[in-house]
């Protein structure tokens, strides 16, 4: 199962806050974060990798960008 966070339209620090909150609270192996600016994508990726997760950022088919975070 993967958990999806839709942070599109939100500006920083909100996407990062939502991601970190999910990393702390949830237990899904995979978290998918949707954002709509490159800045948010970079920030979410930077925050998740600093927590020791593997991250991958791609364009999203729903518009904007998709960051896939996998716990180690």
């Amino acid at each position: 199962m993967s958990k999806k966070i839709d942070a599109r339209g939100l500006s920083c620090p909100q996407p990062v806050l939502l991601t970190l909150e999910e990393l702390k609270r949830g237990d899904e192996k995979e978290i998918v974060v949707l954002v709509d600016t490159v800045t948010s994508r970079e920030n979410v990726m930077r925050a998740a990798s600093s927590k020791g997760c593997r991250v991958e950022g791609t364009e999203s088919e729903e518009g904007g960008y998709k960051v896939v975070i996998r716990r180690n």
């Binding site: 620090p13 806050l17 600016t37």
Partner: protein, 360 residues
């Protein structure tokens, strides 16, 4: 393609670039310890177009125009121009107004605070502490769910409006250039003395402004974000850029003989520590609640963010209130109503922070 400027060394080099050229702009004609100050320069623009009539701070600063245009060019070149708007614009306007009012009680934006420090002005320490305090209060609101709501994608022309306003300002500057010993040319006001009368040549100011706008768009340089991310996430990414700015400006000032340590007699400064601190608490909190320092708001506006553009206009209008109502400080100390303005500004920011929360 990897964006070098988004890496640690990228942001450090951008901070260093800003620090060096801010110090050099001062050498090339800008006022003392005010090579670049986003708040002061927007205040000078407000004076140039007559929104206030403080005679010593009127000049249509080309650096601000360059920031927006440079960011716009970078955003288009790297396909990052995203026209967006609709996240509580009226709140952003009000935050812009009080951010400016607070900054002008201290006499400077966050960039200016550290540039003053790098020039030896000890009063800046209280401003920087206030800035940190204000941003810290902001992080408490973020933890409590403060959120101005999402933006929406919109017409490209929405994102173009502030860059077009800036292009219009540039046209004014070219049509009505400063004339020696003349306080007005056409619709633009000019200062004959004081900080407003000191400026680097147009091409230098505009060119350096545009390069900084370009680099800052690529690197997401933000001084408020530097403090916020450190407090909120213990992240030092943006902070390393901010620190690099201070060090680079300090070294450059030292080399060109612009470092004069002390508290009294500093340029564009007063020595009322409590209000240097208090003014920046209000400004820092307003920047935090609006999601960016005044520089960052200009760069975001260049990327198509219509809400950031509203914040910028709020700051310019706020400068009008500041000087017309006697809220802004001068080297003699705080203005007649500056203290009241700090208290009202803090109350307004707290009202916004407490009431605009999304319930989980």
């Amino acid at each position: 393609m990897k964006n070098f400027f988004a890496t640690r060394w990228g942001i450090i080099s951008v901070g260093a670039f800003i620090g060096v050229f801010a110090a050099l702009l001062q050498k090339w004609g800008n006022p003392g310890n005010m090579g670049i100050c986003v708040a002061c320069f927007e205040r000078d623009i407000a004076g140039a177009v007559g929104l206030h009539r403080a005679a010593v701070v009127q000049y249509l600063r080309p650096e601000i125009i360059g920031f927006v245009i440079g960011a716009l060019i970078a955003a288009y070149l790297f396909k990052e121009f995203r026209p967006r708007a609709g996240s509580a614009p009226i709140v952003r306007f009000v935050l812009g107004v009080f951010a400016m009012i607070g900054a002008l009680v201290f006499l400077g934006c966050p960039w200016q605070a550290v540039l003053r420090l790098a020039g030896g002005d000890g009063n800046a320490i209280f401003g920087i502490l206030g800035l940190i305090g204000g941003v810290w209060i902001g992080t408490l609101f973020f933890k409590g769910g403060y959120n101005l709501g999402p933006t929406r994608s919109t017409y490209a022309s929405v994102g173009w409006l502030l860059p077009l306003v800036m292009a219009g300002f540039l046209a004014f500057r070219l049509i009505f250039p400063p004339i020696n010993e003349q306080a007005q040319n056409g619709i633009l006001f000019y200062s004959l003395k004081g900080p407003g009368s000191m400026f680097a040549p147009l091409s230098v100011s505009l060119g350096i402004g545009a390069v900084i706008g370009f680099l800052a768009q690529r690197s997401r340089f933000c001084t408020m974000g530097a403090i916020r991310d450190f407090i909120l996430f213990k992240q030092v990414h943006l902070l390393s850029g901010f620190v690099s700015l201070v060090i680079a400006a300090f070294i450059t000032n030292w080399i060109v003989g612009q470092f004069h340590p002390g508290f009294t007699g500093q340029p564009v400064a007063h020595t009322m520590s409590i209000w240097n601190f208090g003014g920046m608490v209000v400004a820092g909190l307003a920047f935090a609640l609006a999601g960016g320092c005044p520089g960052r708001q200009l760069f975001m506006a260049g990327e198509g963010d219509g809400d950031a553009a509203v914040f910028v206009l709020g700051m310019i209008v706020g400068a009008g209130f500041s000087h017309n109502f006697g809220l802004a400080s001068s080297p003699a100390g705080v203005g007649p109503h500056g203290i009241a303005a700090v208290i009202v500004g803090l109350a307004v920011c707290l009202f916004i922070g407490f009431t605009m929360r999304k319930k989980a």
